[in-house]
Symmetry: C2
Subunit: 240 residues, 2 copies
C-alpha cells in the first residue's frame, strides 16, 4: 500500500485522480459537515463546484426534497437554507433530504477528484471508521487536503497525517512519499490536542472571529461516528 | 515580520508575488547549482521558464560568453553545455560567463516570482548568509519551495523550515502562517541530518539512482558560502 498526500487541490488536475482511491479532507468545515449531514439522516449530499450550479441543480432535479448548503469564504450564501456549520445539519432539518453543497475549498476538491475509482470523505469525526475500511480495501491511497484558497492548511494536513498514522500501524508494508512522510510528522507534533490545533490554525482563528467557536469543538471530536461518505453517481452517500 | 511558505509554485500566480520579498528554494538541485555558479565566478545566471527560450536567449544577446545549463526531469538537455549538477559549475568552466539556466522546477519557480520587490535564492549552502540579510531587510518574507512537478518536496520544505528557524531566533516578533509553522516543524524533525534527509527524499533517491550521489553530499553542505543570489533585470547576480 502506497500513501500519498496532496496539500492543495491545485497541485493536481482532474485526470490525475482517474482510477485512484482518494480521500478528501476539509476539517474546517466541509468534510465535517458532510459527515454530520449523513450521520443525521440526510439522504445524500451533492457536492458542486460552483454556486451557480448549486442553484441550478437544486431547482430542478430533486423536486422539493432539496436543501442548499455551504459557504463562500466562511460566510453563508444568499438564498441558501444552510451554511457550513456542522451544528446546523440536525436530523430535524436534514433527515431524508438531499443537500446540494458548495464550499470554497471542500466541495471543489471533491468535484476535482470525481474520476477516482473510490472517493471517500474524511474528518476527525470519522477517521478511524474510514481507516478501517481502507485497510480492508488495501489499495494505494491519495489523501487530498482541500487547503485554504489553494494554500496549505495545517488542520487538513494534520488530519491527513492522522489517517496515515492509522494506516501505517499495520503489519503490512506501507510506502510513504515525501508528502505523506511530512503529514505524518505534522500529526506527531500537533495531533495530541486537536482542538488546540484547530484554534491556532489560520482558518480556525478566522472562524472563531466570525462566531463559530462551537464549530471548532465539534470538528475536533475524534471518531464520534462510523459514517463513511462514499461518492458515486455525483452524490455522496453512506457507505454500507 | 511575517513569514509564509508556499510548498509548490502552482499554488500562486505571478501577480501574487508583486511587491513581495521572495526566497526561492530548490535544494535538489537548481538553487544549490545557482549558488555554486555565482560562488565560482559566473557573471550572472539567467533563469528561464522554457527550454525554447533558453536556446533563443543564449544564441543572441550574450555574444559568445554564454553557457546553457540545466536539466529536464534530472537529465541533461541535448545541446546544453552543462547539466544541473553543482559540481559541474567550477570556476574554470563558469568564471566570467553568463549562464542561461532552465530546470524542471527551480528556474520556473524563479520566473514565476519575477515580479517580487526582492527575490533571493536559497540553498543549504548559503542559508545563514541569506538569513542575515533578511534580518537586516526586516520585510515580510514569502519562501517559495520549487517542489517536484507541482507536488510537495520534503527537502525544499525542510530547507524553508531551517530559514524560518533562523529568522524566528530573533528578538523581534515574527508571525507564522500554517505553512511556515508546518515547515518549521518539519525542520525540527528532519533538520539534524541534512544528508540523510536528502538521501531519503523522493527526488534524492531518484538522483542517486541516476548516478548523482556526490551531488547530494554537496547540496547538504551547510553554509559553505556567503553568496546571496539576487534577481534584478531578469538575471541573478551576487548581492553586494
Amino acid at each position: 500500500m502506497k500513501l500519498d498526500v496532496i496539500f492543495s487541490p491545485v497541485q493536481a488536475d482532474e485526470l490525475f485522480f482517474t482510477k485512484r482511491t482518494t480521500v478528501v479532507i476539509d476539517v474546517l468545515r466541509a468534510s465535517t459537515t458532510i459527515v454530520a449531514a449523513l450521520k443525521n439522516g440526510a439522504k445524500e449530499v451533492v457536492p458542486v463546484g460552483t454556486i451557480e450550479f448549486a442553484v441550478k441543480v437544486s431547482g430542478g432535479m430533486f423536486g422539493g426534497q432539496t436543501l442548499l448548503g455551504g459557504e463562500r469564504n466562511t460566510k453563508k450564501i444568499d438564498g441558501f437554507a444552510l451554511g457550513n456549520s456542522p451544528l446546523e445539519y440536525t436530523s430535524e432539518i436534514v433527515g431524508g433530504k438531499t443537500i446540494v453543497f458548495y464550499s470554497t475549498n471542500g466541495s471543489r476538491a471533491i468535484v476535482k477528484a470525481k474520476y477516482s475509482a473510490n472517493l471517500f470523505i474524511c474528518a476527525f469525526n470519522n477517521l478511524r471508521a474510514l481507516a478501517t475500511h481502507l485497510k480492508k480495501l488495501n489499495e494505494d491511497v491519495t489523501i487530498l487536503c482541500s487547503g485554504n484558497n489553494n494554500f496549505f492548511s495545517l488542520d487538513d494536513s494534520v488530519c491527513a497525517g492522522m489517517l496515515v498514522s492509522e494506516l501505517v500501524n499495520e503489519k503490512k508494508k506501507v510506502d510513504l512519499t515525501d508528502s505523506s512522510t511530512g503529514a505524518l510528522t505534522l500529526f506527531k507534533s500537533f495531533g495530541k490536542n486537536i482542538l488546540k490545533l484547530l484554534s491556532e490554525s489560520e482558518h480556525g482563528k478566522l472562524l472563531v472571529n466570525n462566531g463559530h467557536k462551537d464549530d471548532l469543538k465539534y470538528c475536533a471530536e475524534l471518531n464520534n461516528t462510523d459514517i463513511v461518505p462514499f461518492y458515486s453517481g455525483n452524490t455522496l452517500k453512506v457507505l454500507r
